[in-house]
Amino acid sequence: MPENTGQTKIENPTFVIGVIRWIVRRLSSGRHALRRQTILKVGLIIVFLFILTTGLTQIEGLTPYHTTKYRDAPRLQGPSASHLMGTDQLHRDVFSRVLAGGKASLIVAFGAIALSMTVGSVLGWISGFTGGFLDRVLSLTMDAIYSFPSMILAIVLVAMFGAGIGPMIWAVGFVYIPTYFRVTRAEILQVRETTYIEAIRAVGASNTRIILRHAAPNTVNAIMAVSSFNLADAILTVAALSFLGFGLPPPAPDWGFDIQNGQKYLQSGSWWLITFPGLMIIALSLGFGLIGEGISDLVNPKRKRKRV
């Protein structure tokens, strides 16, 4: 990929700063880059709004009613002017809980992706760069994890680690490691053969230096797109884990858990208990998905033109 060679100009040695600079540069380089990137912009706005709402509603008093202590509403009532999304069986306001219910999803999604991105990419760089026996064993192991249903793996891991935000980060993070491993390994295999790597090697740079300063930055493009799609998927995985009862302990507001709670009153027709938290999950996951689509178009303009 010739357009990737520009990435070697990243002067800062640390990868994290490289990623941040990459985002800032992509977003600010001329009015060009973001023009016509409607999909990316819409996705970014959605995700930003969700982070803002979730963050603000964690502060007491910023939700219309208190998410756990307010218990004065009529029981199991449909949407009305005073309770926009109805009320639940414990006389609580669903709207307030839905607004604040994204905390676990966001923390776990970002935490898990950070974890799997770090472990997966580093393993991918090393594996792709050194090759040989290590590469073969790592690749086979990663393929094995990759071929196993990620949802089942995540559920079993959470059952192993215990419920809550921390265990969910470990479980969901573990599941996505092979994705980053495969992406970075494939990119490194390409980069390894380029002449500029050969040149750097001839000058006498160490392997660590070549990987971190010259080869790794070239994988940033691919990693960014993949991680957005992973975030979208992670939101769904976290919601499923919470739905199955492995998330935040009650009474904390949480979309997945509140849907599980609403399932008990489904037969009596209380549709609002499950509908609204679900719509929030879809919107947030879609937001990340759109960012992924947008970044893919951005780093690979051909993709957009061909509309594949």
Partner: protein, 339 residues
Amino acid sequence: MGGISRYIAQRLLLTIPMLLILLTLVFLILRVMPGDPVLAMLGGRNVSPELIEVYRHKMGVDRPIPVQYAEYLNGIIHGDFGKSFRTNKPVVWELFQRFPATLELAAFGLLFAALFGFTTGVLAATRADRPIDHAVRIFHVGSFAMPLFWLGLMLQVLFAVKLGWFPVASRLGGRIAFTFEPITGFYLLDSLIRGNGEVIADIAKHLVLPSITLGFALTGLLGRMTRASMLEVLDQDYVTTARAKGLKERVVILAHALRNALIPIVTVFGLQFAILMGGAVLTETVFSWPGVASFLVRSIEARDWPAIQGSIVFIAIFISIINLIVDVLYSVIDPRVRY
């Protein structure tokens, strides 16, 4: 056919290390990672250290790790997955009892996904860059953001509770469940063999909502791949030739273009099947479907460790077999592939 049987033998040999790695991973995750299966099973209840030791011995986790590993593999080779703590029956028996339910659901889920995915994909590709194409693509992207368990619940609310068209959950209506005797465990097949119209209708009705829910896990993916693959194929010379021959557009699209467009989609079927099995966990839970996946979830809730381990091993072996079959089928679907 000497070539293909040799290929199958080769492929079988390749499946073994892959499977071994999967099984080792399962072992490592369950035994070596932080978290004590005995304590997890006892679920924080206040029990005496002596009782913990008894359980430790009973589960065999008091022995050294390499010994445990050897026993674990030996058990799997002999089809011995241990006994479920909850039901006190062999885990293998429990799994095979439930396996047809999962397969039946997966088959109909796949059918729904294929019908819906291929139709929308072809529709979008043949009308590229027109409004219908944009609508389909938005639908495909949107479908990736759909939580399956939520979709299942919404379908239940709308079509079962409000409209009453389909039953809310389970595989059979209460009255029929008393008299129905399964033969193969695939209920729809069994009811067809028995030939009782009322039973067939009941079982078919119970299948609709779960199949749509599970199938939705793949609809967007299949649709998107179909569209991309069709766009590529429609540019090929043989499509132009088919049109030049004066064939009807429908024949050109379905018989000439789609058939070839499906080849790359079939090759990643193994991965799609993994997604389907992951979706089955949620679908079976929501619809109280008595399959392997809901057995796993209930075993986790009950901290039934042998059942958890057995289920994962079972799924791992199953996935490996599916991958093997897909690889072999590939040569049948694409005659250009020779071994």
